[in-house]
């Protein structure tokens, strides 16, 4: 399969898609059962102080050219009231990790086929990976909310801002009267720092700038006091000065409502500024995780070190920028040794063996590399 890059014959492709259909329809059938007993998805948190625990999560995409292991055995925790930054290059699986948590992965081709994602609702722990649709519906928005990268495409262009924020609040609080909903919307708009809230309430998205739209997105995400905010590249589309405003806002709001934040970004600067813990992902796996100061002051994995060296830093002059040689391996045809070996300049003899296990540098700092730092 997939001998020459991504090119395979039509016959092979048909064969693969037939197999895929078999696998995915079985999973779908299991998921779409009428009454799924609570025992299948209610679990126990390993640590009550965690908001989310990812435990060996595997999210695969069954495509016609082969199975793409977008997230392959990812484990990390998001503690209550803390910010966890997930960094990595495009295509490393950071967005799919967060979509798996929301159960928003494009089905039926994308499926979370293994592992547990335990979400702490306060009363009980729910395994999101196995939860039925109606349970998920009660979690999304109320318990966990997402801020997307592109505020331009995430807002509906034909509805006024007020109506869009109202809708979120009314949907999740059916008992609220119309006036209460509007009052809550106004509160939210002023909370995210919109001065002219009466005016903005009756505006359309195209009348607002990128920074303002991102504020609206944040207001919508926070309107039901979620326990977890997933921010998927919240500032990538914005200018630096607006980015500083938005990051400042997120930091202040987190302190005020005490939620946890899962911050997904490729900008190491943003992570350093916001995150308490950092998770570095490469080709669908976590290669290193630890507290922010451990990762930034004592990086152990060659990929983390390379990533830090390749970013130009203001006030730190170098003759040449370091660049990681080679390319990311083909996602449908992953090697059976360390995924980073072919690009690594610090290889040792053990690297020829199977994918390295996890070594603990300190109780919080874990690295998946034979060199162990």
């Amino acid at each position: 399969m997939a001998k020459n890059g991504n090119y395979i014959s039509a016959k092979e492709s048909r064969e693969i898609s037939r197999k895929n259909r078999k696998i995915t329809s079985e999973i779908e059938k299991k998921r779409n059962r009428r009454h799924i007993p609570e025992s299948e998805y209610v679990t126990k948190m390993r640590d009550e102080n965690n908001c989310v625990e990812f435990d060996n999560v595997q999210t695969y995409f069954f495509t016609d050219i082969g199975t793409v292991k977008a997230v392959d055995g990812v484990s990390f925790d998001v503690p209550l009231g803390k910010t966890v930054g997930i960094v990595g290059e495009s295509g490393c699986g950071k967005s799919v990790t967060s979509l798996s948590l929301m159960q928003l992965v494009q089905r039926p081709s994308g499926q979370t086929i293994g592992g547990e994602i335990r979400f702490n609702t306060g009363e009980k722990a729910i395994n999101v990976a196995a939860a039925p649709a109606d349970v998920m519906r009660s979690l999304r928005g109320n318990q966990m909310a997402m801020i997307f990268q592109e505020p331009m495409t995430s807002l509906n262009p034909v509805f006024r801002i007020g109506a869009q924020v109202d809708e979120v609040i009314a949907l999740h609080n059916p008992a609220m009267s119309k006036e209460d909903v509007k009052a809550r919307t106004m509160d939210m708009l002023s909370m995210v720092g919109i001065a002219n809230k009466e005016g903005v309430y009756s505006m359309y998205p195209h009348e607002l700038s990128g920074g303002m739209r991102q504020r609206i997105m944040i207001a919508m995400a926070l309107s039901c006091d979620p326990r977890l905010i997933i921010a998927d590249e919240p500032t990538t589309a914005l200018d630096v000065t607006i980015q500083a405003q938005i990051l400042d806002l997120l930091r202040n709001l987190k302190e005020r409502i005490g939620s946890s934040i899962m911050l997904i970004t490729h900008d190491l600067g943003v992570v350093a500024e916001m995150a308490d813990y950092v998770v570095v992902m490469y080709a669908g796996r976590v290669v290193e995780q630890g507290s922010a100061s451990e990762i930034f002051h004592d990086p152990r994995h060659p990929y983390t070190i390379g990533l830090m060296n390749s970013k130009p830093v203001v006030g730190k002059h170098v003759k040449r920028l370091y660049s990681i040689p080679g390319n990311v391996p083909n996602p449908v045809d992953m090697p059976d040794y360390c995924y980073f070996r072919d690009r690594c300049e610090m290889c040792v003899r053990e690297c020829d063996g199977e994918y390295p296990g996890i070594f603990e540098v300190s109780p919080t700092h874990k690295v998946s590399c034979y060199r162990r730092g």
């Binding site: 630096v240 500083a244 990533l307 203001v314």
Partner: protein
Amino acid sequence: MSENILEVSHLKKYFPIKGGFFGGVTGQVKAVDDVSFTIKKGTTMGLVGESGCGKSTTGRTILRLLEKTDGEILFNGEDISAKDKKELRALRTKMQIIFQDPYSSLSPRLPVGEIIGEAVKEHGIVKPEEYQDYITSVMKDCGLQPYHKDRYPHEFSGGQRQRICIARALALNPEFVVCDEPVSALDVSIQAQIINLLWDLQEKRGLTYLFISHDLSVVEHISDTIGVMYLGSMVETGKANDVFAEPLHPYTKALFSAIPMPDPDYKKERIILEGDIPSPANPPKGCKFHTRCKYCTQRCKEEAPRSIDVGGGHTVCCHLHDK
């Protein structure tokens, strides 16, 4: 080295706003409003600013991809706006541009060799019998393999495509290249490769760059001189080291303090600008920055500041420094 390859003085580019019942011109967007700067041969000038401040328009007006409204652009001492079609065609080989988005700026229907070679054939840069070797050598310079020649753009990754764009620009042997956000669409590790490549090519061929970007850390690394734009005007220019070490304009200060540093223990005083950039169709009177500036005085609201040289070629447009 002291020779100026490009001199831009009082450049203006206004776009008409059409509207009204008969579709007449009802206003003007002042995208570039009185911008002056010079670039020395073999150096890189970085142009920074927020989106919508007119940096790309400046770059395109210099290449005459857009016709200027007013001002003067001297390239190697010649006024480019006075040139007719034939002369301009000859000039095109000397000035090239690399665009931001490597996904949309390459034709999906042409193989890479053809994309790079099209203009070479058109302008007759090399003899027909040397053509194939020439394309191969240009591709090698830009880090592409000769066997890539027959492939199509969709077979390449973002970083590779940007190399194709660079090869296409350099195949004409230009003296001056406008790089319009060439690394913004790329990942950090690929970004480093492209920046290194631009550096190597500059050393090898003595190129001059106008490097347009909103990423300040990239601009600091690649530029010799730097210009900061705000709402169509140049607010501060100078040597990159001087401007980064000691920014003078309040906008530059705010811009630099907003750069996130990859160090969790780094604490600095952050100047957070209130509000958004005003509309260039209706810029504020006086100093354009006064609506967001915390040092704003009565004078700033009434009188537009002039450009003041504070020494060493470091100029700033601000009343605070105009004693």
